[in-house]
């Protein structure tokens, strides 16, 4: 893997965005542009994933679904134990942060796809299902952890039931999750000629649009750098260590359990290593209003996302190659 393989346009645009922020440029994308690109990209991954899935058998997808649930439930618990045990982080902040690490980042996933595409590596269709699934269990487990924390702290738990139902709804009706799932459905059912008519928009120009998205994410990450001090050394380290821990789980599951190719293992690893910034933050804001959003947002957008995009993805790919003995 040479240095030029790191010169993926998407990653360079991420760096451009961060650089602009660091030198205090006035570069800024309209907020609606970000939303539009996210909508577009989610539909794009969904359609493509749905189409790809119809080429495989539904039964083969089951282990991926299982792995998604395993990650979505296991990783937040692991994160919670680390945050409480090693970091002495207060229980509710620990719960809120943990939930983010059980979930995934569609942006990181797409960057990984762009990375693999850039070096011509193919991959299985199933990781996209995991992407679609993983956001929901993490939300629920976050709520469970918060409830447990409150009980430990001896606080009021009144109204918790209503919150469970509310978030359960939320976990399935959240706009981004819905868009991803339904687009997968649409991709799976439309005929090939129909699909070819929308392919130029949703696939051919996808990788370019992703660059705009990552440029914006770079600016966002750059903005969050200034909050490192407020967040503290432990949490910043956690924001790098946790994806590595997730990555190890991902590599194991992807290689030994799911038995995917190098590309597929890389994607599974990226999923396990990444953390959410789409559906989980608003859910935790609602479920754990006592937690400080600047903690989980700084970790998610300012530490883990940039780490994964710039260092993580090639690293995980290298590890996947090593495991496969390539």
């Amino acid at each position: 893997m040479s240095i030029t393989s790191l010169l993926v346009p998407a990653i360079l645009f991420f760096a451009l965005g961060m650089f602009a922020q660091v030198i205090k440029s006035d570069l800024k994308f309209p907020p609606d542009m970000h939303k539009m690109i996210v909508i577009y990209l989610l539909i794009g991954i969904g359609l493509h994933g749905g189409k790809a899935l119809t080429q495989g058998s539904m039964g083969d997808a089951l282990p991926a679904v299982g792995a998604a649930f395993l990650f979505g439930i296991g990783l937040p618990i692991l994160a919670y134990i680390i945050l409480r045990g090693l970091g002495k982080i207060d229980p509710l902040n620990a719960a809120a942060i943990s939930a983010h690490y059980g979930s995934v980042s569609a942006g990181t996933y797409m960057t990984a796809v762009a990375f693999l595409g850039g070096i011509g590596v193919t991959f299985e269709a199933y990781p996209v299902i995991m992407l679609a699934i993983m956001e929901s269990p993490a939300i629920m487990i976050g709520l469970v952890l918060a409830g447990y924390s409150r009980k430990v702290m001896g606080g009021a738990t009144k109204g918790e039931k209503g919150m469970y139902m509310h978030l359960l709804r939320e976990a399935f009706t959240n706009g981004s999750i819905l868009l991803l799932f339904c687009s997968m459905g649409i991709g799976a059912v439309v005929s090939d000629p129909s699909y070819h008519k929308i392919e130029p928009f949703f696939e051919t120009i996808f990788m370019g649009a992703l660059c705009l998205f990552l440029c914006d994410m770079g600016m966002e990450a750059g903005k969050r750098l200034s909050e490192f001090k407020a967040v503290g050394v432990f949490l910043v380290c956690f924001g790098i260590a946790m994806p590595l821990i997730g990555a190890i789980c991902g590599l194991m599951v992807g290689h030994f359990w799911l038995g995917y190719s190098v590309g597929g293992v890389t994607l599974v690893t990226v999923l396990a290593a990444s953390c959410s910034y789409i559906a989980v933050p608003p859910a935790m804001r609602l479920a754990v209003p006592e937690a400080n959003p600047s903690f989980y947002l700084t970790l998610s957008l300012g530490v883990t996302f940039p780490f994964n995009v710039v260092i993580g993805i090639p690293l995980y790919y290298g590890a996947a190659q090593y495991l496969a003995g390539v």
Binding site: D216, M217, Y277, R285, P289, P293, L297, S300
Partner: protein, 109 residues
């Protein structure tokens, strides 16, 4: 303030800040007490008892709506009394102050 009854009518100005998502509920509530005019602006931000609310945040967009309402004193009392229990639930803020309605546009208060 120059005081001419043919130009100015004494009124109450009510200003409410509330989560943007609750704006629909608030307006429905205002309708139940027969409010005949209000103005709102969406896309506000702020700080309150529940912490900061930032519009246009990439990951955690929270917006406030600001509602301005001019009405006569009697009506103001009805509005405020109807609002108070709801505001306890919604959070936000409600301010009242005296003002003069400039006679000219069609009366909608």
């Amino acid at each position: 303030m120059f005081n001419r009854a043919d130009v100015l009518i004494s009124m109450i100005r009510i200003e409410i800040v509330i989560d943007e998502e609750k704006l629909g509920d608030l307006i429905a509530l205002l309708r139940t007490v027969d409010v005949r005019g209000y103005t709102f602006m969406r896309h506000g931000g702020g700080l309150g008892s529940r912490g900061e609310r930032r519009p246009d945040d990439i990951a955690l967009e929270e917006r406030n709506a600001i509602v301005i309402l001019a009405c006569e004193e009697k009506q103001a009392e009805r509005v405020v009394m109807a609002l108070r229990p709801k505001l306890k639930e919604y959070g936000g803020m409600c301010l009242m102050s005296d003002c003069k309605w400039v006679i000219g546009p069609a009366a909608s208060y």
